[in-house]
């Protein structure tokens, strides 16, 4: 059991995956000598060589497109996209090739590619560095999409994603890289990758978050508790496939659900969860599912990003609204 940051947990997880399977490659802009702009791949090139930790030219479509070819040759590339907003030049390769090759080939071609994306806002960055692109990948059949919210999950989930024979979009809440520190038991048996988890139990309402918003939800639940409200919090962990079993179970008890994410409200994850939970738990719901998300504007200049992001107040507001509905 060691206390470590999420950055370190990811680094250790990558290292472990590379040790376990020499077909695992890491590739991306600045991932080698520099160790990535967030240092998630720090030291890996030194230890595994530049054939396995590949510094690439500055071209995201090229990075993902060559990863496809490497996968076809039997490798397991772990691609780093430097920032969320720079995944779009690779979008075509991701949605038309990575996502579809298994289907196209009737299962003959496997695409064990992990695309790591530091995502979300709150770090005071310039434009394109604070995006939450997950909904677009969740809408794309053939991709799997997960988001970690704490160091222990980060450590195990990255290894599980790499071990998966399916392509995984791996979302890392960049603002937690160095602020989230926790005990990580590297020897523990991890929960399965494709499961969401109840991280706080409660009976008055349910909060669902993932990645950076899990801690916001937990904070909100703690504040609500002081006001005598018992809030259940669920960390979604896997966005595609969605594991809504625990959410349904929870909503059947609480009757109230709020989904929290940084992505834009319209057609963000909250829309899908609202639609499914309403269909599944129609008679249990005491109030409509509420969504707290980024507004339907481009990400604003960083001086006002706190007003844009779902924060404690907006989550509590939604809890008030659902309880008072």
């Amino acid at each position: 059991m060691t206390t470590m940051t999420m950055a370190k947990a990811l680094n250790n997880g990558l290292r472990r995956a590379m040790e376990d399977d020499d077909k695992v490659l890491v590739m991306g802009e600045d991932v080698g000598t520099l160790g990535g702009v967030f240092r998630i791949t720090d030291g890996l090139q030194k230890d595994f060589g530049d054939d396995r930790v590949i510094d690439t030219p500055l071209a995201e479509s090229g990075i993902v497109g060559t990863a496809v070819g490497l996968a076809m040759r039997g490798y397991r590339p772990v691609v780093e996209i430097q920032f969320d907003g720079f995944v779009y030049p690779a979008y075509d390769q991701i949605v038309c090739q990575v996502a579809k090759l298994h289907f196209r080939s009737q299962g003959r071609i496997k695409m064990p590619i992990v695309i790591r994306i530091p995502f979300g806002g709150g770090i005071g960055a310039v434009e394109h560095h604070s995006e939450s692109p997950e909904a677009q990948f969740v809408h794309t059949p053939g991709l799997k999409v997960v988001a970690c919210s704490n160091p222990a999950d980060a450590y195990t989930m990255i290894q599980q994603a790499i071990a998966s024979d399916d392509p995984v979009i791996f979302l890392e809440p960049k603002r937690l890289y160095y602020s989230a520190k926790a005990d990580v038991d590297e020897a523990a048996t991890p929960p399965p990758l494709w499961k969401s988890q109840v991280v706080r139990t409660g009976s008055d309402a349910t909060l669902v978050g993932y990645g950076p918003t899990v801690s916001t939800c937990l904070d909100a639940a703690a504040v609500a508790a002081e006001e005598g409200r018992s809030i259940e919090v669920i960390d979604l962990r896997t966005l595609s496939p969605l594991d809504l079993g625990p959410v349904h179970e929870s909503v059947r008890r609480t009757g109230r659900l709020v989904v929290v994410h940084e992505a834009h409200m319209t057609l963000g994850m909250g829309a899908e969860i609202a639609a499914r939970v309403t269909e599944e738990c129609f008679h249990s719901l005491e109030a409509p599912v509420l969504r707290v998300g980024g507004y339907d504007t481009p990400y604003p200049p960083s001086r006002i990003e706190e007003a844009y992001l779902p924060d404690l107040d907006r989550v509590l507001d939604a809890v008030d609204r659902t309880v008072g509905f």
Binding site: M72, R73, S105, I109, S164
Partner: protein
């Protein structure tokens, strides 16, 4: 116009070096860089390949006209480029085709009927790529050039390049068209291949047209020079000359396998047919242009050569013709017999590891079908 400082304006037609070993009239000519000796058997083999691939193409076109295929993409006129490129391969080489490489598929032992399934709409590609070292057809223009480059980077990591072992050293071929040369992905493939010195041969069939867009829309200089800007060699070959294409590709593949890095081969050829069976080329190109190119037909010239040099007798030509008839007959028969897929099967093909969500959707699909069957 000549700029006083920067020199003359570019010229697409500035007579570029074009490697040719067989004239349109079937006369064997020589080229300092790329001269090979060909046995009579080899040349007859090329003739047979091209003739059968042409039949394959004509047959598929007819099948489309008869409603058996949703679409067909003709290779008519490009047989020399494709057979030359396909026959120069070694078994371990890996090929990334576009959607038109029926001749290369032929060389990789893909059954012609397997080529039909995607165009019939029963699947998105009918063969096992790993079994043939030949990827599925890629429809999104240019995307496969990056896959080829990545695959070649894998070859390097496997130490299967520059060892001197002819059964081990591996080259990868990225096929693409003149239109594709404009796609960002193709340029990025050039960048990556050059940067890592990857063993990939970029084989561009410049058939002069990208649907209705002429080559001038994509480039104002001969395309084979594109690679110069990225620091690796390019060469233009007469793509209607199977001997020249074979020779140049053999040298290019050797270059790649030896670890000398990427290379661009432009096969200068012509799309004799429509872009696809839904296209109407009379809207955008003149009949005379097609006529001019008919005189350069890749099969006619080999036949002329074989006859002129006495390398084949009438029996040979008859035999090939009979083989072609047989192939056509088999394609017609087997195409119609290609089984339609089961809709419920699509849910199983999305992932390597199935998800509960898709199992549930499959169940709801099944239930829907069942309810529907009840009614009727």
């Amino acid at each position: 116009m000549t700029d006083p400082v920067f020199g003359p304006a570019p010229d697409l037609d500035a007579d570029p070096e074009l490697v040719q070993l067989l004239t349109p009239e079937g006369e064997r000519v020589h080229h300092p860089g790329f001269d090979l000796e060909f046995s009579a058997e080899q040349v007859r083999g090329f003739y047979r390949d091209m003739t059968l691939v042409r039949r394959l193409d004509i047959e598929a076109t007819a099948l489309q006209r008869h409603g058996e295929l949703g679409l067909w993409v003709q290779s008519l006129g490009q047989e020399a480029a494709q057979i030359g490129a396909g026959r120069a391969l070694l078994p371990q080489d890996y090929v990334f085709p576009t959607y038109r490489e029926h001749g290369v598929a032929w060389c990789r032992d893909i059954d012609p009927v397997q080529l039909l399934s995607m165009y019939r709409g029963v699947d998105h590609g009918g063969w096992d790529p790993a079994e043939h070292n030949f990827n599925l057809y890629t429809v999104v223009i240019g995307a496969q050039t990056l896959h080829a480059t990545g695959y070649a980077m894998g070859v390097q990591r496997d130490g299967a390049v520059g060892t001197g072992d002819p059964t081990r050293d591996t080259a990868v071929v990225a096929h693409f068209g003149d239109g594709a040369s404009s796609q960002g992905d193709v340029s990025e493939a050039f960048v990556f291949a050059a940067s890592y010195n990857a063993p990939v041969v970029f084989f561009c069939q410049n058939n002069q047209w990208a649907i209705s867009e002429p080559i001038e829309r994509q480039s104002r200089i001969p395309l084979y020079r594109r690679s110069q800007g990225f620091g690796f060699p390019g060469v233009r070959v007469d793509g209607n000359d199977v001997l020249a294409t074979y020779s140049v590709m053999q040298a290019a593949l050797r270059h790649a396998r030896e670890g000398q890095g990427p290379i661009l081969v432009e096969a200068f050829t012509y799309r004799m047919g429509a872009h696809t069976t839904t296209d109407d080329p009379t809207r955008y190109r003149h009949a005379e242009e097609v006529e001019q190119w008919r005189l350069k037909d890749p099969i006619t010239r080999v036949e002329a050569h074989l006859r002129r040099e006495g390398l084949a007798d009438e029996a040979f030509f008859e035999e090939v013709a009979a083989e072609a008839d047989e192939l056509g007959e088999r394609m017609r028969r087997e195409c119609k017999a290609l089984p339609d897929p089961q809709p419920r099967g699509i849910f199983d093909l999305v992932h390597a590891e199935q998800t509960e969500e898709l199992v549930a959707q499959q169940a709801s699909y099944d239930a829907h079908v069942a309810s529907f069957e009840e009614v009727h």
